[in-house]
């Protein structure tokens, strides 16, 4: 399964899309499939300061809870309100409409610690 190009990935199965120094964050298709039907996503508050790789929320399926570790640090500038009303969006469109939140990066170089689509693909194909 090829991973979308132009994105960066974490080993905790989040993706990052960079637009200048603003990063959009979501979970990967692999992650949503592993979680099953997502029923709720707990997101950070707008204005919160996140530390790279810190736990910042959870994704709930019917009988499981998984932590979300943010792949990048900085200030939260937006969260995706649409998934509060329709958490299934994360299952249906993890790389698009199911994005989770946006971060104003504290330091753009922190993305060096993330993976390329190819590297992430290799990670999940070994799983």
């Amino acid at each position: 399964m090829a991973q979308p190009a132009g994105l960066l990935y974490s080993k905790e199965h989040e993706w990052v899309k960079l637009d200048g120094d603003v990063a959009t964050v979501g979970i990967t298709d692999y992650a949503q499939a592993a979680l099953g039907d997502i029923v709720y996503v707990e997101l950070p508050r707008v204005g919160a300061t996140l530390e790279q790789f810190g736990g910042i929320g959870v994704v709930e399926s019917v009988k499981a809870v998984s932590d979300i570790f943010t792949p990048v640090g900085g200030e939260v500038t937006a969260v995706n309100d649409a998934i509060e009303a329709d958490p299934a969006l994360v299952n249906r469109d993890p790389f698009g409409g199911g994005w989770l939140f946006k971060v104003q990066l504290a330091d753009v170089s922190q993305t060096d610690a993330l993976m390329s689509p190819e590297a992430y693909d290799q990670l999940v194909s070994q799983a």
């Binding site: 709720y40 399926s61 019917v62 009988k63 809870v65």
Partner: protein, 454 residues
Amino acid sequence: MYTPHTAGDIAAMLRVIGVDALDDLVRVPDAVALRAPVEVTPQLSEIEIAQRFAQFAARTSAGEYTSFLGAGAYRHYIPPVVAAIAMRGEFLTSYTPYQAEVSQGYLQAIYEWQTYIALLTGLDVANASVYDGATALAEGVIMAVNATGRKAVLVSSAVHPNYRAVLRTYAEGLDLVVDELPYGPDGRTAGATLEAALADQRYAAVVVQSPNVFGAIDALPPAAVERIRATKTVVIGVVAEALSLAVLAAPATWGVEICVGEAQSFGNAIAYGGPHVGFIAATTAHLRRIPGRLVGRSVDTAGKTAYVLTLQAREQHIRREKATSNICTNQAHCALCATVYLAAMGQAGLRNCAALNVARTNELKRKVTALDGFSLRFEAPTFNEAAIRVPGRAAGVLAALERKKIHGGLDLGRFYPELDDCILMTATELTSSADVDRLVAALSEIPVRAAARV
């Protein structure tokens, strides 16, 4: 012993297992072998058990007294239909309804309980119950702490002292600061001190109880609620006498976001303190922080209406150390009793019952304070109990009443040293005019000490 095994059964079963004797199944290492014979109750036949417990009952004489005790545990009429339904074995002996397909009846009953509590409190959602009123308060405070990220809480000193004691016990574990807001001269929470207390925005919640421990109706005035809201502090309302909800302004209408309380009054016996049944209701904004079980309505594979435990990912068996609470077992059967009680009473019966409580308490207040030396300690309107100031110390008056086979109420000095001349007297629909007259006659015979109080 309730074990059906015959010697033949045991022998046949041991053969299948492949061991020679029962002892081979339960052997333990010498290091942990029983060191001394256990000393427990002797073994009795069923009829002897009944005789034994009749002795315990005979030594429990409270029922011979005319009682004006309340303060968080209330004597009410329970229609026999409650026990007739609740003692059905299907309800009494069922497990937690995790296997929803064979638990539809109980799940629907709990969904109805949640609805009753939501309607009575005026809030959006209610959980399937918690242990009791005091633990409901502790859990409600945890909800507010999680909502605000603040680790202090401001509690009215007119909240039931046992509830505050439990909150302090929990606070020790959670590392929370519990501050108190004094009660005012009329027996209600002193709103005047609120402004200063809220100034530095350190409180997760302000907690008030209505009717409060003095029986006073203690709904916060709109201006106070506005000040609390302005500091993004949660208003928690405590209801220790759920029957009051039938007639008093619903907590949601005067600003309560999280309502916690005790529903023993709805069809549950006092039983020396338990089991009773706590509830937590809240606005939708707090839904994900509500502890304990929640029943939801959904559909089955054929599209038929079906009930199921839901939002379980909040709970301890899934979220473990990050759960909203460690609560697992709740008070389902007590909640069922309450639901049957509420269904049988109906709105008309419930409102009438609540009105009777007010009427009997008004009568008690009128007749007792007509006696020389007795007065209302506080002026605020009350529901079914009131703080009565007596000549001399409350303890002495209560002891004198006890000799006349009357339990006159709670000595408020036990919890409020400054109120050691006050008795909290309670009257419910079970209190007759004759009971009140007996109390008044007994009180009038107690010699009033000349210099009762300076």
